[in-house]
Symmetry: C2
Subunit: 384 residues, 2 copies
């Protein structure tokens, strides 16, 4: 089916836009330009441009003529050209670890929401926690002249970003701070959250408390581990640290192993929703009864945490808000609405007390963690 525009369009093929026939692969190039619109409307290019950008000083009559031409030709302005001229994109680059982790998906959702609201476009990339991949993506994004960069940094040194930063690229770290550059960052109360979790286990009589933790080189795991240690230290209890691959499969394997050892734990702290899910899967397979045989507590919510029996006690992070705050901060930087030194925004987490740590619990209770403030607190960093 040939749309009517096609017909109109046919008459312009002679134009100097070099609109001859091309191979299918190149066909996407056959689009009318502002010059075509101008010719069609019998005005200069600049006038057409004026209409397009809704500038003043265009006679209504002329304006209508141009608008008509735009419609007739199915003209779409070329942001590539405009960007080149203006020197600034309305695109933000988002580099996360893994889209299939609901936590990051929620962060991305928050980012997307704010971006849309403020007229920005989001380029998404997944680094899979690899610094090398992250660098490649950032390189690509910089080439594309993104207005700002939002990233969940992989483990390792991010000094490579300092040249970008010094060239004025706004960067906001999400979920974890950057190592080796300073930048804004939006994180949650990792240590306090885990401390609260561990203390909760202690309060329920647990003494052989294991933690299944990803590499402490990754900030979130490192700080959460720290919280665990401090809580145990306070309680005078020995640590049982297991560094694992923090995936569902990794956690399942580790749990299977852990529970088959002599002197197994009486409780497990999970450092992420992936780990919690993996632990639960293993326990179900083993027929271990929670919380009777073993208590389980997790950092970060997961879908069904409230539906699974027993309902899992865990610390909830505001994932969507994390994304929204990060995006807001970034765009504020981009637009110059925010111009102070790098700042760290720390959002509060909540301990949701349910049934997986002992029968004393009843109903879902919420407990703000020690550091928690209603809206998080905002700390300007020391110095650059």
């Amino acid at each position: 089916m040939v749309c009517p525009h096609q017909v109109e369009w046919g008459g312009l093929v002679e134009g100097d836009s070099a609109l001859g026939s091309r191979s299918a692969a190149e066909a996407s190039t056959i689009r009318p330009t502002l010059k075509d619109v101008a010719r069609e409307a019998n005005v200069s290019q600049k006038t057409a441009s004026r209409v397009l950008n809704e500038e003043r000083y265009v006679r209504p009559e002329v304006r209508d003529r141009v608008k008509e031409a735009i419609l007739r030709l199915g003209y779409r302005s070329n942001d590539v050209a405009r960007t080149l001229k203006l020197g600034t994109t309305r695109t933000i680059g988002l580099v996360i670890a893994d889209i299939s982790n609901p936590f990051y998906a929620s962060c991305a959702q928050g980012v997307a929401r704010v971006a849309r609201r403020r007229g920005y476009t989001v380029v998404l990339s997944a680094s899979d926690e690899g610094l090398q991949e992250e660098r490649e993506y950032v390189e690509l994004l910089v080439r594309q002249r993104i207005a700002g960069l939002l990233l969940v940094p992989a483990a390792g040194d991010h000094g490579y970003l300092s040249s970008e930063r010094s060239r004025g690229l706004p960067i906001v770290a999400l979920d974890r701070p950057l190592v080796g550059v300073d930048s804004d960052c939006v994180i949650v109360e990792n240590e306090a959250g885990m401390r609260a979790m561990t203390a909760h286990l202690v309060a329920h009589g647990c003494r052989r408390i294991a933690i299944l933790c990803g590499s402490p080189d990754i900030y979130t795991y490192g700080t959460r581990l720290q919280g665990y240690r401090r809580a145990l230290e306070t309680a005078g209890i020995d640590e049982r640290i297991r560094i694992i691959n923090p995936t569902v499969e990794g956690a399942t394997a580790a749990t299977l192993e852990l529970m088959s050892e002599p002197d197994p734990p009486d409780s497990i702290c999970c450092v992420s929703n992936r780990v919690t899910v993996g632990v639960l899967a293993a326990l179900v397979r083993l027929g271990v009864s929670v919380p009777d045989d073993l208590a389980v507590i997790g950092f970060d919510d997961f879908e069904l945490s409230d539906v699974v029996r027993p309902r899992v006690t865990m610390v909830r992070q505001p994932a969507i808000e994390l994304g929204m705050r990060a995006a807001t901060l970034l765009i504020d930087r981009v637009e110059g609405l925010e111009s102070g030194p790098p700042r760290t925004v720390t959002l509060p987490v909540k301990l949701m007390i349910r049934d997986s740590c002992g029968t004393h619990e009843s109903g879902t209770q919420e407990a703000q963690c020690e550091l928690g403030g209603q809206d998080g607190h905002d700390v300007p960093d020391g110095q650059g």
Copy 2:
């Protein structure tokens, strides 16, 4: 901290790149151009360009000089300019309904994986099932001159896309075909899947089989509903159709209502993972025992479907592969590797038999649905 490049850079401020001081908001513009590199290396711009693109015919000595200049200046080529000149991006636009639905997240993951492998960048947008929002996003993407468009169409007519298509923009529909334009599309066996689900319930003695379904205007729901109806027709059983808002909350509310009515169903078919999760939440709350009091079966897997007790019988769709196939097809079109008429790729689904439909089940069994082939089948459409 001032990085060493800054110093080098300082010497160039006089250049005709107009690198004077600017406001913080515009600072991202102060980047060296190829011209700066050329001057720094004492060669022509073209020579610098040659080195950048690794063309032949550059004396090694000169090449090194240029590379050094690039490094010293921290030069990053400007893809915006390059794109304008070349007339073609390496960006694909992805419009999905909702990132927080793990199904779409997985699709996006598949897309991202292929895109990365083939050197493309992905711009992500979420339409929230709104046709209007979808249009706005597409408009934006077209302006950005994406090389191709990948979308999960919202309900409604997509005739608005035909002008883009006729201008040569490759479009691949994901999860649902487009209405009103023809295009490639990658979907799963919706009807067969739901027919198998329903038949499975019938085989387990269910007779009051309800379906919780989203608006049939959305292709996936429409076809799944069709599968349900056909299976019941075959079995000579009455329909119990409930059109709901297919979210977790919507399904929970509907289930609560459904179960409190006189003559409640003996089984529920869920049209999506969102619905299944919502149903389970409601049943847990009501204390309804599955499968004893009620059988439950779902379309589309969800995390923990295999961990929750009883384990939920459901039809699994290959979400990641869906995304990968769609992206592959799209990029093949973009690059002209694929040039025939629009084609529809249908991927098979699998019925995973577990415990939520009756005690006859034991262990997880897999059953390929009727139409299933190993790799899906590929049907060139009728005609344009």
